[in-house]
Amino acid sequence: MSALPVTTAAMAATRDGYGNALIKLGSTDPNVVVLDAGVSDSTRTNKFAEKYPERFFNMGISEGDMVCTAAGMAKCGKTAFATSFICFLLGRSMDQILVSVAYSDSNVKIIGTHAGVAIGEDGPTAQAIGDVSYMRAVPNFIVICPADAVEAEKAIIAIAQRKGPAYVRLGRGNVRTIYDDSYKFEIGKASVVAEGNDAAIIASGIMVQESLAASEVLKKEEINVRVVNMSTIKPIDRQAIISAAETGTIITAEDHNIYGGLGSAVAEVISEEELGVKFGRIGVKDQFAESDSQKVLFRKYGMDADAIASAVRTLKN
């Protein structure tokens, strides 16, 4: 695990970290190509498109075609980023991802934006809550869900440098910037973003921000909670979970169905390693949400900092 990061008050969206990373990759790696399914302004691939138009391919609203086109390019030596909203990108192209990317070992990066109920007002058809579960079950894929824009940018650069399939789950809204530029992202390594030994929250994506807020509330009650950013969900950092178990209590937090995602992945390690901790999961409780702001939805569906804090209090007692 890397050292405690610097906390700042700045806000940025992880999708912007992606856009920034692509600009950098465009100048350093001539083999990088970017594909989008007609939503490049929302996914932030439009910046790459402006700067490197000959290496940008807007395939229109046809995610399966886009993923396979990316696979064909990858088989001719390209590092291909295939991008869209998670709901449609995975919903429309799981078979293509399985056959043309994963089984074929194509150097395709599946980049989904607009994760979870956090996207809010567009409602359940646009709220991706099962994607981590699907992608964890695809052999040959790594699954990354960055916590802030800095980590997103570094994660994108890291997967570009590692040949093979990868899935990165990004968010729409601004989240608290946790890391500064000195942060070293490493695939498969969790990082502790708040120290504490009374309980541990293992979180990913936007829920790292919520978990940090929960830890700040609990600190006033003299409950010192460790917050672990498990940004690589597959392969998962088993050692970070074993260490977290020393606190006696583990709670997972994800903007995703509690079935099949981070919570399930951590539970697998807890049982396989016989860690014997108190355990709870914060996330979408196997239901469809509705339309409203992220704040309202997180409150109603028990996913905000207050919900996490009260889960910690309950489990500890």
Binding site: F57, D65, C68, M73, C76, D95, Q96
Partner: protein, 274 residues
């Protein structure tokens, strides 16, 4: 125009490929004979005449690419690959058994560019290869062999729109239009006819031929390479199970192996020639 000697040579190759295909399905006790027999003439023309490739250098960047989008027809594909030297003929014994000769192609086998077997993906993949070739200023062609039943997959038409949009003229789709799918005649499912007109409406250059007329197949492939500014589709009208009388035009022979007696009869007919 192809000369008579070339046509005769390719027809003989096609006959041998049909024999080998039926042998493989019989030996494995499972597999897809019907669509292998219908596409044998097309495959002979591609791999023994039209395509630029070198089995000793499967990763040669300038090679023409071939994608078997109708991925179930591995009896035919592996018969070709063993014959041209992508792998030792001896290895055919492992067809559909542990090893590289999986029921549907996987890229661990030299010559296989991408995994197929889930229908509808190959044209998009081929288009990606054509786009990469254009970026890299290469002159290779990408050939994608599809079945007519496969055209019911919506993604084929997504790819058709994409390739026309990008004017991908080094992408050549070949439809093995054998009129038969797994459980029915394609006309009774989503009827794709008129296939050539549909592709033309999507912005493609279409050529329609008798897919068992070797001279026509050769000429169509040559003409396809000369089209500029548009992707090209060759609609090859074929007969499913071609060359084995009891298999011809029968959905039942999409994906099953002949028994001993049927195998003997198939070989007799194929040895005799078409």
């Amino acid at each position: 125009m192809a000369d008579a000697a070339t046509i005769a040579k390719l027809k003989e190759k096609a006959r041998q490929l049909r024999i080998e295909s039926v042998k493989l399905v019989y030996q494995a006790g499972s597999g897809h004979p019907g669509g292998s027999l219908s596409a044998a003439d097309i495959m002979a023309a591609l791999f023994y005449h039209a395509m630029r490739y070198d089995p000793k250098r499967p990763d040669w960047p300038d090679r023409d690419r071939f994608i078997l989008s109708k991925g179930h027809c591995t009896p035919l594909l592996y018969s070709v690959f063993a014959d041209v030297g992508y792998f030792p003929r001896e290895e055919l014994k492992t067809y559909r058994r542990l090893g590289r000769l999986t029921g549907h192609p996987n890229p661990k086998l030299p010559g296989v560019e991408i995994a197929t077997g889930s229908l509808g993906q190959g044209l998009s993949v081929g288009h990606g290869m054509a786009l990469a070739g254009k970026l890299d200023k290469k002159d290779y062609y990408v050939y994608v062999l599809l079945g007519d039943g496969e055209l019911n997959e919506g993604q084929v038409w997504e790819a058709a729109m994409s390739a026309a949009q990008y004017k991908s003229d080094h992408l050549i789709a070949i439809i093995d239009n054998n009129k038969v799918a797994q459980d029915n005649m394609t006309a009774n499912l989503k009827n794709v006819e008129p296939v050539d007109k549909k592709f033309e409406a999507f912005g493609w250059h279409a050529i329609r031929i008798d897919g068992h007329n070797m001279a026509a197949v050769i000429d169509a492939l040559a003409a396809a390479k000369n089209v500029r500014g548009k992707p090209v589709v060759i609609v090859a009208d074929t007969i499913k199970g071609k060359g084995v009388s009891y298999m011809e035009g029968k959905p039942d022979w999409h994906g099953k192996a002949p028994n001993d007696e049927q195998f003997k009869k198939a070989l007799e007919e194929l040895e005799r020639g078409l």
